[in-house]
Amino acid sequence: MSRALLLALLLLPAVPPSPIRFEEIGGVVGARMRHHTRKFKGKYAGVLGMFTSGGAAAAVGDYDGDGDEDLFVTDSDAGRPNHLLRNQLAETGKLGFVDVAKEAGVAGGNDERSIVTDALWFDADNDGHADLLVARFGTPVLYRDLGNGKFEDISVKAGLTKFGNTIAVIAFDYDNDGRLDLLFGNYFQPVNLIDLPNPHVLPDNLDDAVNGGGVTLWKNVTVPGSHDIRFAEVTEKAGLAKHTGWTLDVGHGDLDNDGWPDLYFADDYGTDRLFMNNRDGTFRDATKEALGGLDTKKGMNVEMADFDRDGWLDIYVTNITDEYMKECNMLWHNSGDGTFTDLSKETGTCNTLWGWGAKFGDFDNDGWEDLFAADGLRSAGKENYIPVLLEMIIRPGVDFTDVGSWPAIGTMSWSGYQKKKLFRNLGTLAFKEMAAEAGVDNDRDGRGVALGDFDNDGKLDIYETNADQESLLYRNVSPASPGTAHWIELNLIGTKSNRDAIGARVTLKIGSVALIREVNGGNGHAAQSSKRLHFGLGAAAKIGSLEIRWPSGLVEKLATASVPLDRITTIREGSGAVNERKSR
């Protein structure tokens, strides 16, 4: 046998990759929700509508604690209700959703002064009940879960009365004090777009804008044990006030493996930012030294995962790569020394057209995290807005900040009808795009991507929200030969740490391979994925070891026998695996 042939055989995978397949079941199971973007009034209606064409968001969470994942899905037009989709799986044994938003008291939020843009489940008072934050162009709404299927609006009492044009929100414990704090990513400056006092509200530069809304950080100052939830703004104190970009998404993760959450901001019109945690309640802007400078791209999404299994979280940022803006996404590979290298071109994940939400998830349970990305801005008539827009862009002396400078879009399309992208992780620092093969190459105007195992079958499903269109629920029906695609899922419950265990890191070893997952509080544009951690294990018949580093600092090693394969296991901080499920 020649050396070349021998080498070729050695490089062949032992088992051919199993197919990844999804079927869209949103309509069948009652999860297909039509989103409506806000319709503005007055002469700037078209342009403002164009600049606020987000707001189609979803948050996954088992709010009723019955062991299946529920969904909160937003709408944005005036008077349109949001949806609380309660999963019936645990009760009926069959996947199906019922909208209980009105009964629960969480349907509101789209009023004459406010536009709903994002949503987040998090346990603000560590009482075991998932509270709900609804972000808005306006003031946020914080609903406290009363534990009986009803929610109470406690926004004012909690101190969340500051107006902002928030498009993204995450919950994380930035100071590791056991209480979940809130970080808002704000697109516009805090001006009321519905009653515009001054038309100069748009970006001052289309590649390097610094007149956006930045971020606001709210420290959870609830007295431990109390249900009197309170927040206090600490943006300036934490060192985040100088960031004035057009924030479209914010994400957190422990990027330097020191046990403290760091931050990445994806900004439209340039200048993403990386802030490292100083472990003293402040952050430092590490963008230039870590990323090699400031970018000029249109950042849309922040997602973190260890895609190459080297033990360090990497960052995926979507940008715009379409017929006239050739930006390419950024897959920031974490070098482990405080620097990152963009490998999007090398890995084949550069082009997701007009990018929006994107999430890592091991869709085929082979132990490598794949990537699903939404795209598409506005699918409407045959006429293309881009040449019309160009006339404005190249006009000498044009004032981009002036809403009146921008041509109305009318019924024109703008980077619409774009096919979604699914990248299979080949495990060799390379991905293969296979959305059509997997059945997820829809051409809607995607926004949020929320992952969760909605039918508890160990395979990650995808919920995709679409602007001014219906959402989609893709059930993962990937076939797998028995014994070749094992998995585990972990529900973590913090005791000393925040109860949602946001920030907890699990390291699972199989032989010499270490898989890491962190519980995150809403990373990714307009969608919070399940907090339940999912590990695909491939053909591995057993786990070598499993270790949890809790935000409190406790490092807990679990007996592998307590975490059976192909099961969902609940782990309580300090107590290991427990049998815990409550139901209303």
Binding site: D207, T296, K326, I386, I394
Partner: protein
């Protein structure tokens, strides 16, 4: 009367003095470049060009130093002033356009469009003043970087056909002329004339038999060819704007 009679002589003397000053500044600038001091070379090149605004060689070296120092805005400002002072200097306008092109790879995606458009305006002014091969090729090639939706590729075909016609009048086919042949093929391809594109590249290969870019195009078809051409027309890649092959000995 005496003054009038002496005027041509004075003009000749003044022109000669300017040329000398330009040459001196150019030599000093090149010495600074050779010493690795590009920043110091910039004002010297500027002095050289102020004295001789149509000097392609000096402008070419100036732009190279600008790319190395990333002082694009300085160069844009300089050529803006130079062309205002010498509105009939066709090559000054051409280099003014190139200065925008040189900045494109280092600019954001929207700014790239603005820069590309400004470059086109200046190339057009250069062509209005003097229809040269280099100006026609440059503008024609620039049109190809625009996405199809803007409908500029047919304008590229027209310019590049003229550029090739001009080059064929030359007694010797300089190797730099191959750029227009390649670009014309690309222009045909971008305007849905695939056969004409292939024919153009085949004709070019007879004139420039060793050219790898022509061979690469002729070796590809369909999606592979599309990918290859769009890779070449990626605005994030630096366009070769070095004009030295125009005057280098062959």
């Amino acid at each position: 009367m005496n003054i009038l009679r002496r005027t041509p002589v004075l003009l000749v003397l003044l022109l000669a003095a300017a040329r000398l000053a330009a040459a001196t500044s150019y030599e000093d600038a090149m010495k600074a470049v050779a010493a690795g001091n590009n920043a110091a070379a910039l004002p010297l090149f500027e002095a050289s060009l102020a004295a001789d605004p149509d000097d392609l060689k000096s402008a070419n070296e100036y732009r190279k130093a600008v790319i190395r120092t990333k002082e694009y805005d300085r160069a844009i400002g300089f050529f803006d002033k130079l062309t205002a002072q010498h509105p009939k200097a066709a090559y000054a306008w051409l280099n003014y356009g190139y200065t925008y092109v040189d900045k494109i790879p280092d600019a954001g995606s929207v700014t790239q469009v603005i820069l590309a458009n400004k470059a086109l305006t200046n190339f057009s002014k250069s062509i209005e003043l003097k229809k040269t091969w280099i100006a026609l090729f440059t503008r024609g090639n620039s049109y190809l970087y625009w996405p199809k939706v803007f409908g500029r590729a047919p304008l590229g075909v027209a310019d590049l056909e003229q550029a090739i016609a001009l080059s064929r009048q030359e007694p010797k086919q300089r190797s730099v002329f191959v750029r227009a042949w390649i670009a014309l093929g690309d222009a045909y391809w971008k305007t849905e004339q695939a056969e004409k594109a292939k024919a153009t590249w085949r004709q070019a290969l007879q004139l420039f038999p060793e050219n790898p870019e022509i061979k690469a195009r002729l070796a590809r078809d369909g999606d592979e060819l599309e990918k290859y051409i769009y890779d070449q027309l990626d605005p994030n890649k630096r366009v070769d704007t070095n004009l030295a092959p125009l005057w280098e000995k062959e």
